[in-house]
Symmetry: C2
Subunit: 213 residues, 2 copies
């Protein structure tokens, strides 16, 4: 690991992530970022060779922050539906929980970069694919535990969960709907209920409580 | 109606709408649009006084195109679930059906403009609110006809339908998932099934077919 300039670079990335959450990827140019951190453009150029290099570094920083705010606390929960539900709850509105001014840069990039081909898009595709893979893993754990039904289409479940997230993002941040959180939780809960086993498994023990998680 | 320059203006708007669907609102500057239609920037300036004026005119043009491709054919269907389902099916991927190169400018704007305050944002808020009002009206018609249950939370239904649309947009255009259409139709169908009356209404006539619409 190269520590030279790491402090400055870290400060640039923290400010840049905040900017990116507010302005989207396209809004964070070398000029805007330099002005925001109080550096010259040539000073910034010593750290990042291009706008694309800045954007990719900011997306990597975002992944670290999201890991701390969204993933790590969920992974501390018991595997299965508790962990999956925890992850989804942490994910909804995560940028606010992380102290960022704006919305989720990846959600915005899904619409901003849909018709572009470059390294930034490839980075977002990789991040979004990894994220959906994680959601699928936790969903599959809930299936394995018998909390979700064993013929569940896990990819469809993840697809619909992503729809809840995007609808929440649009209604909370863009439409400023005060009921956005409540609507998202209801939608996800309905998806979970629809994915529950059809009937309790045949067992010899008294049934455990089957209330909502 | 002022016809002066309407032909040129119409041509500018058609090209601009195509550009906006590809580049997002921020991508359509006076310079980009002038270059695309083969005019000078000052020539374009005779038609539109500012970037914001262009963007608002393009959004208005979009509404006209979407009306033709999405709304009008649906309104020709019988009121109730048939019309609602028709509207949602026409909506999914509507820009491709309209011959545009890119995605839905309003969907992109929900994420692009979430942290900005200007007249363009206000225009998108008005369009999105009107659109959700229309979805709510058609959903309420399906409730009134007894096809959806009478205690349905119509706003929640619309909220979740918007999630299906956004997830479809992201998976089809950004992730290029070949199953995007099928996943969206399954998600919407599941939402409809969950919103059906719990039991058939008490009636004296033999029940009609209750297969999928």
């Amino acid at each position: 690991m190269n520590d030279t300039g790491q402090g400055t670079r870290g400060r640039i990335l923290d400010r840049g992530l905040d900017l990116m959450s507010e302005l989207g990827l396209a809004g964070v140019t070398l000029g805007v970022l330099a002005s925001d951190v109080g550096m010259s453009k040539s000073g910034l150029f010593a750290h990042f060779r291009s706008k694309e290099a800045v954007q990719i570094a900011l997306l990597q920083r975002m992944a670290v922050v999201a890991q701390d705010v969204v993933v790590t606390p969920a992974m501390a929960l018991p595997p299965g539906l508790a962990r999956l539900t925890g992850l989804v709850h942490n994910w909804l509105g995560w940028t606010t929980k992380a102290g960022l001014r704006g919305g989720c840069p990846v959600a915005a990039a899904l619409f901003e970069l849909d018709d572009i081909e470059n390294d930034v898009r490839a980075k977002v595709v990789a991040m979004e694919s990894h994220w959906r893979w994680l959601l699928a893993q936790l969903t599959a754990e809930a299936v394995a535990q018998g909390e979700l039904r064993d013929d569940l289409d896990v990819d469809q479940f993840v697809w619909e969960t992503c729809g809840v997230y995007l609808s929440h993002h649009a209604s909370r941040r863009f439409l400023k709907d005060p009921h956005a959180d409540q609507r998202a939780l209801r939608a996800f809960e309905a998806l979970v209920q629809r994915s529950r086993p059809k009937a309790p498994p045949v067992d010899d023990n008294p049934p455990a409580s089957r209330g909502p998680p």
